[in-house]
């Protein structure tokens, strides 16, 4: 197991701390950071959308849902 997990590796209800955003294309990375996904921020995974690939998290006092593709490039630490 690698040292870092991605957001996809979490189980529902699990909390984590954001480590870094993998270098995907610049605009995606910027958009994710603007939402508040900056290094050191705390996240709790809530659940995955049915049949789909949205993942709901708590982030900075709000609930947000991210696409699988976006969540996959976010490295976290438990």
């Amino acid at each position: 197991m690698s040292l870092f997990l991605s957001l996809l590796d979490l189980k529902p209800g699990e909390a984590c701390t954001l480590e870094s955003i993998e270098p995907v294309d610049t605009s995606t990375a910027l958009k994710l950071q603007e939402l508040g996904l900056t290094p050191g921020v705390a996240l709790v995974f809530l659940r995955r959308s049915p049949m789909g690939d949205l993942l709901a998290f708590t982030l900075r006092g709000t609930f947000i849902a991210l696409r699988r593709e976006a969540a996959a490039c976010i490295r976290v630490r438990l």
Binding site: T26, T28, A29, L30, K31, L32, Q33, E34, L35, G36, T38, P39, G40, V41, A42, V44, L46, R47, S49, P50, M51, G52, D53, L54, A56, T58, R60, G61, T62, F63, I64, A65, L66, R67, E69, A70
Partner: protein, 703 residues
């Protein structure tokens, strides 16, 4: 920095007619504040060149000075992700003609304090005179010391606003009428490399630091050419070489400032896990129970629309009867004919369905403001992605059950162009409420009331809606597979906290829809009804001839000319005229047939079919059906047979017969290519579909 009591507004500003831009994140309560400020003194228009709604209004300060306020679209940040968000930034930079902004009011929401503060910091970096409103409608209040700290942190005045609180509204208006306002320092340039780049651009282009930053981020404010453009690219390249992640660094620095502020003030603990929203979402977003909730909510809405709309519809019928009764007392004249048949018969039948549309939009408003809609998007994103759409396509499609036009406008929240285009293109296949009266009347003809149990009729109607919905989704899948394949956009979705919807805000929305209908749609329908009435009454047939006077009229002649084309579908020339008039708007089919067959408004008695919804139709509709049932051709055969009605229903399900929709699609897609393609393809599909149904039905021995 203590905030001094507001000084009276200076005369220089009065003569200028100070204009405020109201900005904030989605769900920040911005629109509620806009409504509270302006009341009914608001207007809705469009920004030049784009169809983003421009809401603006005015209000009087406590000193009696009239101030303008512009409600800009909500956005997550000033880096645009959709056309709605792009207009926000363009307006703030003064790039939009006829839209001047002197000062900015930025709304921050206590429920999403951190993202709100991020947005506010971005706005403050524009270095315009700014005031911040802390929307504090929740129980969780900040102490006055914390508000003071927030003021110090942002460096601009902060006003606490509570919804439905007169005192806080007056305080807000006082703040807005201040003569002068502090602004943030010009540039928060985090690194030496960045501030050097900003300086270079400032020198070369003679602009403010905020504008220089916008150039650096790739926004072309002036339409640069040649030398200037090359110079800008050179500066961008050297900045990127020196500090590759300068944009990310700026974002992180803003959040670091916010984090340290939140920690120093202990503003709140992250206690979402104990919140009501969190507990509700365990059920609402549940992979099994979530669907029950979703189905329940939308079944409830459709039932509510049909059962609640009966009452205003009855009232309207009564009203029309009154007018009809009055008109009948007038001496016979051409004018009386025109008023009775042209105006009342045409417009009246359309107005009758207005309550249904308004009630549907009331429910959509409740869902939107309560916070359920993003949850529905969350649940439906998976299924909709299977047909090449995405969760955000849901609201446009839902609105399209009322009317395709607001549906198509609602696609602006979809960031990816191919998904947005697919949603726009399929929206006309979702059965809009203008088609409902046509379905109901034709079903009434196919399944006459005393003979068929009401369940069959309801079942048939549900069938029509299901088939058209499935066809629309199938079309989306086909479009995305063959015409515009492309990878699905990355999407983020915020699930705001649940809250009680503000009835006031919904009320304003409905009022606006009603106003648009009265001022734009109704005159159009009325003009068309009058023109059509003229065409179907002139030239007057000579009384010696034993024929229907309509047959010799202009409309009759057009219909007769059209007959060979539509005969294979089972229609006669009168239906042909009806279809032709539908191309202006579908509602006109009913009003046209009303004029053609001279159907008067009903007696107001209600036919009781025993079912909850469509049984209690206004009597005029069942009367309408019976008039159609009694129509015969020259050989004494019924014109409206079950088979020809079915063929007509198929035609109406699939044909795009709405000029307004075509115009909106043209505006939203930017070219005539898509509306033309849509019009022809859907027309051909409808024609062929109706042809197959009629001819196959005949071959199988149905009539």
């Amino acid at each position: 920095m203590p905030i001094s009591p507001p000084a009276p507004i200076s005369s220089a500003l009065v003569s200028k007619g100070l204009s405020y831009a109201l900005v904030g994140r989605p769900n920040s309560g911005k629109t509620t504040i806009f409504n509270a400020l302006t009341g009914l003194r608001q207007k809705v228009g469009n920004y030049p060149g784009v169809t983003v709604e421009k809401r603006y209004g005015s209000f009087s300060s406590p000193h009696g000075v009239v101030l303008q306020v512009l409600d800009l679209p909500g956005a997550q940040s000033l880096s645009p992700q959709s056309p709605d968000e792009a207009i926000l930034r363009d307006v703030l930079f003064g790039l939009v003609p006829d839209t001047r902004v002197d000062r900015i009011v930025c709304v921050i929401d206590i429920h999403s304090l951190e993202p709100s503060l991020y947005f506010a910091l971005q706005v403050l970096e524009l270095a315009k005179p700014t005031i911040v409103i802390l929307n504090n409608s929740a129980k969780k209040a900040l102490s006055s010391a914390q508000v003071q700290a927030l003021e110090d942190f942002l460096g601009v005045p902060v006003v606490v606003y509570k919804d439905q609180d007169r005192e806080s509204l007056i305080r807000l208006k006082l703040f807005l009428s201040r003569a002068s306002m502090p602004r943030q320092e010009e540039c928060v340039c985090a690194s030496a490399a960045l501030s050097r780049a900003v300086k270079d651009i400032q020198n070369a282009l003679a602009c403010s630091p905020a504008e220089a930053l916008a150039y650096l981020e790739g926004k072309d404010l002036k339409g640069l050419k040649g030398q200037e453009k090359a110079m800008l690219e050179r500066i961008q390249a050297s900045l990127l070489a020196e500090e590759p992640s300068w944009q990310q660094n700026r974002i992180q620095q803003r959040y670091q400032r916010i984090d340290s502020f939140i920690q120093s003030q202990r503003v709140y603990q992250l206690s979402l896990e104990n919140s009501l929203s969190y507990r509700m979402d365990r059920w609402v977003l549940h992979p099994v129970f979530g669907w029950f909730v979703l189905t329940g909510v939308f079944a409830g809405i459709f039932f509510g629309v049909f059962s609640l709309s009966i009452y205003p519809m009855r009232l309207l019928e009564k009203g029309f009867e009154g007018i009809q009764g009055f008109l009948n007392t007038l001496p016979p004249s051409h004018t009386k004919d025109l008023l009775c048949e042209g105006v009342l018969g045409g417009l009246g039948n359309v107005i009758l369905f207005l309550p249904q549309i308004l009630i549907l939009f009331f429910f959509i408003g409740v869902l939107e403001l309560s916070g359920y809609l993003p949850r529905a998007i969350f649940l439906l994103d998976g299924p909709l992605r299977k047909v090449g759409l995405q969760g955000r396509s849901f609201i446009p499609l839902l609105s399209s059950y009322g009317c395709a036009i607001p549906g198509i406008l609602a696609t602006r929240t979809i960031g990816s162009w191919s998904e947005r285009l697919a949603t726009i293109l399929i929206a006309p296949w979702i059965s809009c409420s203008a088609r409902l009266p046509i379905y109901l009347i034709l079903i009434g003809v196919m399944l006459p009331s005393p003979l068929t149990p009401i369940g069959y009729k309801v079942g048939f109607l549900v069938g029509i809606y299901s088939v058209s919905t499935l066809a629309a989704l199938g079309l989306a899948a086909a479009l995305r597979k063959y015409l515009m394949p492309g990878h699905v956009s990355e999407m983020t979705l915020e699930l705001p906290r649940y809250q009680w919807p503000s009835l006031r805000t919904i009320g304003f929305n409905l009022y606006e829809r009603l106003r648009v209908f009265v001022s734009r749609t109704a005159p159009f329908i009325m003009a068309f009804s009058i023109i059509f009435w003229f065409l179907s009454n002139y030239p007057k047939a000579s009384p010696s001839l034993q024929q229907n006077p309509i047959e010799s009229s202009y409309a009759g002649q057009i219909g007769k000319a059209l007959e060979p084309l539509i005969k294979p579908l089972g229609y006669d020339w009168k239906i042909g005229i009806g279809i032709l008039s539908s191309f202006a708007a579908r509602e006109l089919f009913i009003s046209t047939l009303g004029i053609l067959y001279n159907v008067q408004e009903g007696t107001g008695a209600v036919e009781d079919c025993g079912c909850g919804c469509c049984g209690k139709l206004p009597a005029s509709r069942s009367k309408f059906s019976s008039v159609l049932l009694s129509q015969q051709n020259d050989q004494g055969q019924r014109i409206y047979t079950p088979l020809s009605c079915l063929s007509l229903i198929i035609f109406y399900m699939f044909a795009l017969q709405c000029t307004s929709t075509l115009v909106i699609v043209r505006k939203e897609t930017g070219s005539w290519k898509w509306p033309c393609l849509q019009f022809m393809a859907m027309g051909a599909f409808a024609y062929i579909g109706a042809l197959i149904v009629y001819q196959v039905g005949r071959a199988l021995g149905f009539v």
